[in-house]
């Protein structure tokens, strides 16, 4: 036992010798502890306090609560299934088929990532709702899109990029010689697919399914807009806070939402994602042979095209909504909505949101990279804990983060040293960072795992300190991944609703909250204009970041010798 302790002390002493790295460790641990662990702990303590007992009894006795919980699970299941299927379809077409428009399909697969939370929902209502362009005008149906069906449609489209990206990466990395070996042994293409390809993709499919499930459960925007009478936990929490001012109920419901989310997320993170069948034997030998059979190719291509068309329609239609007088009803052109957003009431929201997101992005990016470096490259007791905590930000639903922040920072702490944060810009920035840091850590970890440690060791053996090694060797090699992380952080911050909905005040206006406002009161035109402006801001930011951070030296291609 004492030997264990001496070894650990020596580990920490060595880490401390690392100077700047030790400071970095302190900063990141401090941040995670204060802004991730503490708010969650607050929620736990409030929801398990004596006052909460009465709330539990009330809530769990009401049949309504159980229906809400069931609804949430059904919704999660539906979105996860449809989303994974969509992602698989697009990934399959991208990797295995030789058809036209592949680059277009790839863009469609990533498009929803940068889209604001209400865009697809609003389009869907105007297109497929009771007075929908397609349902009423074209098909003469009177279809109620509000509810579970609308939710699944909208969320599947909004979230399937997660599945798409996971599966595309996985399918590309699969060793094609395995399928070739199966064919060589006499298996038909279908049999190969069923018995070799699909089983090897199971971790990817399972991962996607679980991640989509968690995202669906956490989402607030869509249930609010298109849920109709179909209430889920996230919307119920919103009602509890905004409608009833009942913080205890909010905390209790948050706990109820948190438990399945965390369980599923960590099941995916620690169990499923570790079971990877990809490249066990090292370098994949050769190219993927595309599937040639026309009976497979063209139907899948058509399906992909159809869905892409639908998605393009939905997003394009937002633009229409932004420039027409009354979206879906009066198609007269107007610029009043844009005027509202750019110069009128909405301009403050536009500048505030962009400013806060811009501040949060590099913070999340750098801290994420620091944590990733510590977790991947250094050994110390508590490393697993740091890894776990940094990933929590992704696992915890946004509404829960919001409530946690309110509970934790509603009054000054430590005798006034730490001020009350609610109502300030800082708390919104912190919420953004907490939401984004997990993504940055993940991209950082993936990138660092690609860089051969021998290079960093070579640098050390030539006399360079950790900081110099990181600056001159590691950073240039992971720059593309770092850039991706920044873009992701910015997009996610700009389009975040559930985390900040409880934190906005008249002093600091956030675009997504304004969109909710406009959409709830039926002013779809303004909402659409907000969406268009938001997409434009995110796209320009991406362009700027590529120009600023990103010239790739081409060396990243050759990292692993």
């Amino acid at each position: 036992m004492s030997e264990f302790i001496t070894l650990r002390i020596r580990e920490y002493r060595r880490l401390a010798q690392d100077g700047v790295l030790a400071v970095g460790l302190l900063i990141s641990l401090g941040f995670l502890g204060l802004f991730v662990v503490y708010p969650l702990a607050k929620i736990l303590s409030v929801s398990m306090s004596s006052e909460a007992v009465a709330v539990y009894q009330r809530l769990l006795a009401a049949r309504g609560t159980w229906r809400v919980i069931l609804n949430t699970l059904w919704m999660g299941l539906g979105v996860a299934s449809v989303g994974t299927l969509l992602g698989f379809l697009f990934a399959f077409v991208q990797v295995k088929l030789d058809v036209p428009f592949k680059r277009f399909f790839n863009l469609i697969g990533i498009l929803p990532v940068i889209s604001p939370p209400f865009a697809v929902a609003m389009s869907t209502i105007v297109l497929f709702g009771r007075s929908g362009l397609i349902t009423k005008r074209l098909l003469g149906l009177r279809y109620d899109i509000y509810g579970l069906d609308g939710l699944i449609l909208v969320m599947a489209i909004s979230f399937f990029p997660v599945a798409y990206l996971t599966l595309v990466g996985m399918m590309r990395a699969l060793d094609p010689s395995l399928e070739e070996a199966a064919v060589n042994l006499g298996a038909s293409r279908w049999r190969v697919f069923r018995t070799v390809t699909l089983p090897m993709l199971t971790p990817g499919l399972a991962s996607s399914f679980l991640l989509l499930f968690v995202e669906a459960m956490a989402d607030l925007a869509n249930p609010l807009l298109i849920g109709g009478n179909f209430t889920v936990l996230a919307s119920r929490i919103y009602l509890a806070i905004i409608g009833e001012y009942d913080l205890h109920a909010g905390a209790v419901l948050s706990l109820i939402l948190l438990l399945p989310s965390l369980t599923i997320f960590f099941f995916q993170h620690y169990w499923v994602s570790r079971r990877s069948y990809v490249s066990v034997t090292g370098k994949p030998a050769g190219h993927h042979q595309p599937i040639r059979s026309p009976w497979v190719k063209w139907p899948l291509f058509a399906l992909c095209l159809l869905i892409s068309g639908l998605i393009v329609l939905m997003y394009g239609f937002i633009f229409v909504g932004a420039v027409t007088k009354v979206w879906g009803i009066n198609y007269g052109l107007t610029l009043e909505h844009f005027h509202f957003v750019l110069f009128g009431y909405g301009s403050r929201a536009m500048t505030d949101t962009t400013l806060l997101a811009t501040i949060a992005t590099p913070v999340a990016g750098l801290m994420g990279m620091l944590i990733a470096f510590l977790v991947v490259r250094r050994q110390f007791v508590g490393r697993e804990l740091v890894d776990f905590t940094s990933v929590l930000g992704l696992a915890v639903p946004g509404t829960v983060v919001g409530i946690g922040f309110i509970l934790a920072f509603n009054q000054p702490m430590w005798g006034g040293l730490f001020p009350k944060l609610t109502g300030t810009a800082l708390i919104i920035i912190l919420a953004y960072v907490v939401r984004c840091i997990s993504g940055s850590v993940r991209t950082g970890v993936a990138a660092l795992q690609q860089v051969d440690t021998a290079m960093e060791e070579a640098s050390a053996s030539l006399g360079a300190s950790s900081v110099t090694t990181f600056r001159r060797i590691t950073m240039p090699l992971i720059r593309p991944a770092f850039l991706t992380g920044l873009i992701y952080s910015f997009a996610r911050s700009m389009t975040s609703l559930s985390a900040i909905i409880f934190l906005v005040t008249p002093r600091w206006r956030i675009m997504t909250a304004q969109i909710l406002n406009e959409a709830e009161t039926g002013r779809f035109g303004n909402a659409a204009a907000y969406c268009v402006v938001l997409i434009a801001i995110v796209l320009s930011a991406i362009g700027l970041m590529y120009a600023g951070v990103g010239s790739t030296t081409g060396a990243e291609r050759l990292i692993k010798t």
């Binding site: 070894l7 360079a464 010798t561």
Partner: protein
């Protein structure tokens, strides 16, 4: 007395939460200034771990490492005056050859003209003149290897460490580089620790070889000591090839021992070792010491396998229910026996070596 540069004192390195994996299990070694010592052993024997302990990329669970008498256990790798040449070269892909070589000097903040001079000298030494502007991916394997070595040499380190640097090169290039490395090391007189699993490399490069097995040194000595007087079964079998014939000590008298060899007595001087009568032993004889012919002899056998390799022929001859490996150099027509031939083996006394046969 020569000054000792590097001392490893009972090094232990364990991995795993409860220390289940003992990669290095009590390893002690003293390396003198300017000496070329190779750590030789099969995969997983702990030689690379030992090298990484010396370099500072791993820290010992117990034991000490001393450089010029001072313990350097807790010194981080970038503060140790050692330079390492990696198996995959570890060239920085985003820097040119010149910048790669100059890297360590830049870290030391040497002035630019001093750097340029040093780099150019080393590039000349390593035959890399004119390649300064190229990027690593534009170089051949051999060139990359030389850049990796140049980058280490330019630091003028006290100890030079090699981690299986030649394993990624093709056979001919490997031999070439081997010669270059040895020549350079002797010329510059840098203390060198070299890790490999290739015994030919170890034999051709080293002043001394440390044969490592299960995290410990089984034997350390010059190449000829190790080859001709292997201290254990493992060493005998790992260096070169060997035939192990089971036998028993039949008697011991007058400075001589008698053994049973396929029913005939074999008499060897007692200097072979302290073995008591009745003790089970292995009689060890190298394949190249065995002679094969059609002439009547003591030990009859049948050729079970014949492999013609051009400069040698290798046989597996079955005799007395055992397979004896034989290697014949520069085979003439009369030396080549087809599979199935009946032959006679000549096993000269002087070629035998005795090792204990444990329970």
């Amino acid at each position: 007395m020569e000054s000792t540069t590097l001392v490893l004192d009972n090094l232990v390195k364990t991995f795993g939460r409860r220390g289940e994996v003992r990669a290095v299990n009590g390893l002690s070694l003293e390396i003198r200034q300017g000496e070329f010592v190779t750590l030789l052993g099969p995969s997983g024997c702990g030689k690379t771990t030992t090298l990484r302990l010396i370099a500072g990329f791993e820290f010992p669970t117990s034991g000490r490492i001393l450089l010029d008498g001072k313990p350097i256990n807790d010194l981080p790798p970038n503060k140790r005056p050692m330079a390492m040449v990696f198996q995959n070269y570890a060239l920085f892909p985003h820097m040119s050859v010149f910048d790669n070589i100059a890297y360590g000097l830049k870290v030391k903040r040497q002035p630019a003209d001093a750097i340029r001079e040093s780099v150019e000298i080393v590039m000349q030494l390593m035959n890399l003149v004119g390649l300064g502007g190229r990027m690593p991916h534009q170089l051949s394997g051999g060139q990359q290897q030389r850049v990796s070595l140049a980058r280490a040499l330019v630091m003028q380190p006290q100890v030079l460490l090699f981690d299986e640097p030649l394993s990624n090169l093709d056979a001919k290039l490997r031999v070439q580089m081997r010669v270059e490395i040895r020549r350079l090391q002797q010329r510059l007189g840098i203390t060198t620790v070299y890790v490999t699993h290739d015994q030919a490399e170890a034999m051709s490069l080293s002043d001394r070889i440390a044969v490592i097995h299960d995290g410990q040194i089984e034997q350390i000595g010059t190449p000829s000591e190790i080859y001709q007087h292997p201290a254990s079964l493992f060493v005998a079998d790992f260096i070169g090839r060997a035939n192990f014939i089971e036998s028993v000590v039949q008697g011991r008298m007058d400075g001589r021992m008698t053994f049973d060899l396929f029913g005939h007595p074999l008499i060897l001087p007692a200097s072979q070792g302290e073995f008591a009568a009745g003790e089970p032993v292995y009689l060890v004889i190298r394949p190249e010491a065995v002679r094969v012919s059609r002439q009547e002899g003591r030990y009859a056998g049948e050729v079970k396998q014949m492999v013609y390799l051009g400069s040698t022929v290798e046989y597996e001859v079955e005799t007395h229910d055992q397979f004896i490996a034989v290697v014949v150099y520069d085979p003439q027509q009369g030396d080549i026996f087809e599979e199935g031939s009946r032959v006679f083996l000549d096993l000269p006394n002087e070629a035998f070596h005795v090792l204990p046969r444990g329970q």
